[in-house]
Amino acid sequence: MKKIIINRIVMLIPTVITIAFLAFSIMYFSPGNPAEILMHYRNPEGGTDPAALAHYEEMLGLDDPFLTQFQNWFTGIVSGDFGESFKTGNPVAEEFFYRIGYTLMLSLTGLFFSLIIGITLGFISAEFKDSWLDNLLRLTQSIKMSIPSFWLALFFIYIFSTQLRWFSAFGYNSPKDLILPGLVLGLSNSSRMVRLVRTCILEEKGSGYVYTARVKGLSENQIFFRHILKNITLPIITLTGVSLVSMIGGSLIIENIFGLPGIGTYLVSAIMAKDYPVSMGFLFAYGVIIVFINLFIDILYQFVDPRVRDCANAEI
């Protein structure tokens, strides 16, 4: 098992390098002279002194060829040095690790809500298949899927913050402040989960082993909790991975609306402020996080499904 995991991680190295390359190129080809921008941040009213500019250019190594610059940056990353923010002068890695916690917490809260909503509603929908309740739930899901998350966020802010005053609308002071954004994130990602749980339960109910269990004399409860629940975990895990990835992406806009100090808010402001080291580092980090979530889901899958586990073992 260990071997497989190590093997998989090794196979990711080229992907990670490509991600780094893309992140670097995007910022490299960005208009504007980084040295000028850095100089502007270091000395806001300093004007444009060519000597100072040359100094900054040399400091950033802007005269080096593209590949050398990339190599320098990438070797820095490998040794944990992401450079320093133009704007604040703080190490990018430090900024990142300070903020990633909030993004992960938000994403996990969202995931939590999405799972709860998805499994409960999906179950109800499947259990009362074709009833008015099922039809209502299905209609709600398809409408919910079409509502942009930022609109839902504004709507919730109006209801729960402005009118009911249950939650604060902005900023992070206590974990309670994650509930509203988490709920928005979870809701806007839960539609797929509800649909999946519904179809899976219905599909499993018609499957051979459920028939076997039924003719064996097991009760519907036993069938559901012992057999069906276990089998729908597989697709749920897959979708959880996909959801987590889309939530980390989607948290960017939610963080901005709710003013959470996550990596999304910071990346947007860094991109707007042309803070290149931060933008590059964070872009790269986004890519790597997502690649590793996918890897993690793959590995998790092997733990749950004996068939895949056997196949994987056979490969080695």
Binding site: P14, T15, T18, I19, L22, A23, I26, M27, F29, S30, P31, D130, S131, W132, S142, I143, M145, S146, I147, P148, S149, F150, W151, L154, F155, I157, Y158, T162, L202, E203, G206, V245, S246, I248, G249, G250, L252, I253, N256, G264, L267, V268, I271, M272, K274, S279, L283, Y286, G287, V288, I290, V291
Partner: protein, 280 residues
Amino acid sequence: MRKFKLKTKKQHQQLIWLWWGLLALLLVLIIFAPVIFPESNTIDYARQLQKPSLQHWFGTDEFGRDLLSRVFNGMRTSLLYSLIIEAIALGIGLMVGLVSGYMGGRIDGFFSYIMNVFQAFPTTVAAIALIAVLGTSDLTLIVVLSVMGWVAYARIVRSETLIFKERDFVLGARASGANSVYILGKHICPNVLLPVLPLATLMIGHGIMAIASLSFLGFGVQPPNAEIGLMLKDSAMFINRAPWLLVGPGLVLAMVVALINALGDAIRDKLDPQQQMVEL
């Protein structure tokens, strides 16, 4: 034993026609918005931030402009851009998918790898970064979303190509000495397009949402043009004073996207009747 009555097929059909009627109506309103709602940019400070009324169904914004008119004119921009984006993305995806699936081997490996890398970046994040590079404008918005959108098409086209590649008519054509370009264009492409149709329909809705999200963050459509995301950004500024401004744009956006998605689902069901058999 029976707890509920099944809808008869006729009732079901009537409901479906109702949906399509609604979609058609909305599309007509959107497409002919400049004719139906010519007053979308008329400023009248006498009617600032009015509540919804018979004259102004969604209320008026801070310049006294009728929000309903602006919403439909805005949706027109979104829909147009989304169509362009999906057309470009479909074009790229089709080419890459066909070549990748048909050629196989190293070319396939290379493209699959590229697709994996592309999928490692969340769309919004990557789009924002690219827009930062290219500069904020409507054109970059279209380019960037197209560039981010082709992967989904390429994947499905590739897998379909792999299936059709082994079909008799393709093998026959190959045996009779037709060249690859001819086989791809004449035999595989038309067959592959059909399964892509539902996805393309769904992606139009996705495109509209993506444009709205980016505009909301300030990276999308630029202010002189009306757009839903932008309108909501403005409305959000008045959430304390005029919360009703949020309702109209969101409602129309959700309705249009939901109906487009329903259309996609319907197309999928038509093309893949087996999916329906499961329900039986």
